[in-house]
C-alpha cells in the first residue's frame, strides 16, 4: 500500500489491483453469487457470536454419503420480526409465527440434511409442552393445513436457549419458489400462551441452523 501511494502506476500497484479484481471474481464465481450481497438488515454482533457458538456445537452430518458434485453449506437464519395472531398463516389464536427467509439460488437442487430451531425460552415452574409446526399456506384456501415438525415437554423451570430438531427436515420450504419458512409455535402447560414464554426480542432473535447440500445443475449425472 505504501508503494502504491508513492507510485500508483508502478507494476506492483497495477498487479495488486489486477489480483484484487481476480480474487473478487473467483470468490463470487465459487460462491455462485452474481454480485456481492448487500445486506437487507444488519445483525447484532452478539447474535452472530451466539449463533456461531451453537453452529459449532450442532452435531456434524454423520453418515451422509459424500457426493463429490454436491457442495455442503451450513446456514444460520435469524427469524424476521415475529408475526403475532394477525398473520394469516397462523391457525390458532395463541400461537407465535416465525418467518425465515432463505436465498438459495433457484436453479439448484437443495437437500436439507438437518435443521434445528433455537429459541430463548422462559419455562414456568409447571412444565411446558412446545409444539412446532410448518405453517400452511396463507389465506382461506389453506384451511390451516400445517405439519408437526417437533414437540417437546420442558420441565426444567428457568430461562435459556433451547434447541429443537425439526424432523423431518422441512424440505418443502426450499423446494418451492418462495424460499420462506414459516413456523408456528404453540404451547400447552400453565395456560399462558406461547408469546409469554418465547423471548423473540431483537437481542434474543430465534434462529434456525440448517445443513444443506446443493447439487450443481451441470453435475446432474444421468442415473444409468
Amino acid at each position: 500500500a505504501a508503494a502504491e501511494q508513492r507510485c500508483p502506476s508502478c507494476p506492483e500497484a497495477s498487479e495488486r489491483r489486477l489480483l484484487e479484481e481476480v480474487a473478487k471474481k473467483q470468490l463470487l464465481e465459487k460462491l455462485r453469487l452474481r454480485d456481492r450481497p448487500r445486506l437487507a438488515h444488519s445483525v447484532p454482533r452478539s447474535a452472530v457470536a451466539r449463533a456461531l457458538r451453537r453452529l459449532h456445537r450442532s452435531p456434524g452430518v454423520s453418515g451422509e454419503e459424500e457426493e463429490e458434485e454436491e457442495q455442503g453449506y451450513e446456514i444460520i437464519s435469524f427469524a424476521e420480526t415475529p408475526r403475532w395472531v394477525r398473520d394469516p398463516h397462523l391457525t390458532s389464536p395463541s400461537s407465535l409465527g416465525l418467518q425465515f427467509q432463505f436465498s438459495q439460488a433457484q436453479d439448484r437442487d437443495v437437500r436439507i440434511l438437518q435443521a434445528q430451531l433455537w429459541l430463548y425460552l422462559r419455562v414456568p415452574r409447571a412444565s411446558l409442552t412446545l409444539r412446532i409446526f410448518l405453517a400452511g399456506e396463507a389465506g382461506p384456501a389453506a384451511g390451516g393445513n400445517r405439519t408437526l415438525l417437533g414437540e417437546r415437554r420442558l420441565s426444567a423451570a428457568g430461562s435459556g436457549w433451547r434447541s429443537f430438531a425439526l424432523l423431518p427436515a422441512p424440505q418443502s420450504f426450499l423446494g418451492g419458489q418462495s424460499r420462506t419458512l414459516r413456523l408456528e409455535l404453540e404451547s400447552s402447560g400453565d395456560g399462558r400462551d406461547v408469546t409469554a414464554q418465547v423471548n423473540a426480542s431483537w437481542s434474543h432473535q430465534p434462529f434456525l441452523v440448517a445443513k444443506v447440500k446443493v447439487k450443481e445443475p451441470d453435475h446432474r449425472v444421468a442415473k444409468r
Binding site: K30, S42, A51, L52, I76, S103
Partner: protein, 114 residues
C-alpha cells in the same frame, strides 16, 4: 512447489495475500479476513518438463521419452498448480443469513511443469 525468488525464472509459486478490508468486502465476509491468491508463473524448459517442483517418477518417465525419441521442443510444458487446498468461508447472504461453506481447490499450494 518452489516459491518464486528474484534469481530464477523457472516455474514457481507466486504468493499474494488479498485482505478483504482492502477490497471493502469485510462487511459481508465474516471469516477469514483475507486469503492467499497464489498463482503459478515461470518457464518450463524441456529438462524440467513433468517435474512438480522436484524430481519425480513422472518427470523421469517424460525425460526418458524425450531422450529416447529425441523430441525437439515441439510441445510446451506449462507451469501449472499441482496441489491446491479448500478455503473455509463464513459470510452474510443478502437476507442477512450466515452461510458457512468450504470452497474446494481455492488456494494454490504447489506449482509444477506439465
Amino acid at each position: 512447489s518452489l516459491r518464486c525468488s528474484q534469481n530464477s525464472d523457472l516455474c514457481c509459486r507466486k504468493d499474494y495475500y488479498v485482505d478483504f478490508r482492502d477490497i471493502g468486502w469485510n462487511d459481508w465476509i465474516i471469516k477469514p479476513e483475507g486469503y492467499q491468491i497464489n498463482y503459478c508463473v515461470g518457464q518450463c524448459p524441456l529438462h524440467v518438463a513433468g517435474s512438480p517442483g522436484m524430481a519425480s517418477s513422472f518427470h523421469t518417465a517424460v525425460f526418458n521419452l524425450v531422450k529416447a525419441n529425441n523430441i525437439q521442443a515441439s510441445g510446451h510444458s506449462c507451469c501449472v498448480p499441482t496441489r491446491r487446498r479448500p478455503l473455509s468461508i463464513l459470510y452474510f447472504d443478502r437476507n442477512s443469513n450466515i452461510v458457512k461453506t468450504d470452497i474446494p481447490d481455492m488456494i494454490v499450494d504447489a506449482c509444477g511443469c506439465s
